[in-house]
Symmetry: C2
Subunit: 152 residues, 2 copies
């Protein structure tokens, strides 16, 4: 990947607000509109930019309960279970991990009943041995952002 400083500056601005116009970005960075256009297009073509998304308030949408669920499963069933779980629209992240658990899931639920139903369903899946649910009391930070390349 040959990303330079300009690409990064553009990404940073887009991350701040993906709806900034090319002209606004150009003005901010003191470069031409066409250049911004070409750079963003290149970043999309290369797959560095995968897409543009909305950042919504889940609480206001009625999904105010977040949980992190660790799952221990039978080796040969793990991939199938992961795929199964991923289908649910309440599931934000599914990670295949090493360590105490085999799968870690981050999910958003309407309420405890909604969460409970999901966990019970999880436990009913063939190969799931054990689950451990950590209910989120406070979302201190929740944003996929581009890390600084120069951080200690």
């Amino acid at each position: 990947m040959n990303m330079d400083d300009l690409d990064l500056k553009i990404l940073k601005l887009l991350q701040e607000n993906a709806r900034y116009s090319y002209r606004e970005i150009a003005k901010e960075l003191g470069i031409a509109v066409g250049t911004v256009y070409n750079r963003i297009k290149k970043l999309e073509d290369e797959g560095v930019i995968r897409g543009f998304c909305v950042d919504v308030d889940y609480e206001k949408l009625g999904f105010g309960l977040t949980a992190v669920i660790g799952i221990k499963a039978r080796g040969k069933d793990i991939v199938r279970i992961e795929k199964e779980i991923s289908k649910s629209s309440r599931i934000m992240q599914v990670y295949d991990v090493t360590g105490e658990y085999d799968i870690i899931v981050v999910a958003k639920f309407r309420d405890r009943a909604d969460m409970n139903k999901f966990v019970k369903w999880l436990l009913s899946l063939e190969g799931v041995e054990k689950t451990n649910t950590s209910v989120v009391m406070d979302i201190v930070k929740e944003k996929f952002a581009i890390p600084l390349l120069t951080e200690e």
Copy 2:
């Protein structure tokens, strides 16, 4: 929150691609451009839409290592530790949780050395009693999307 069906349809489209033009959305839904504009503006003003973000490929940006870290800490130090951790641009999520750990963190690192340095730093913080790192081997799903309101 008085969200109706139209608001949800608009949100769904924006979630698919936040750069859809109002015109495209209007055409897709068979309504006027002005209506789409007004609805999105309302959703932003109400805070349902918090912003628009870029979805980037962290691997291509050089942050191919994801980890989920559980932290056990002394009660009175938890909030301070959470704030401290949140400052790092490598940290995507910081959750204050109930259960086995007090804090759960999702982070992106350059490599194992980068991760190790972070975990060592974590352990050096006043009040941190124990950490448990699950290294992500495969990202099966990783997207904050709007849950279907009608899911079993």
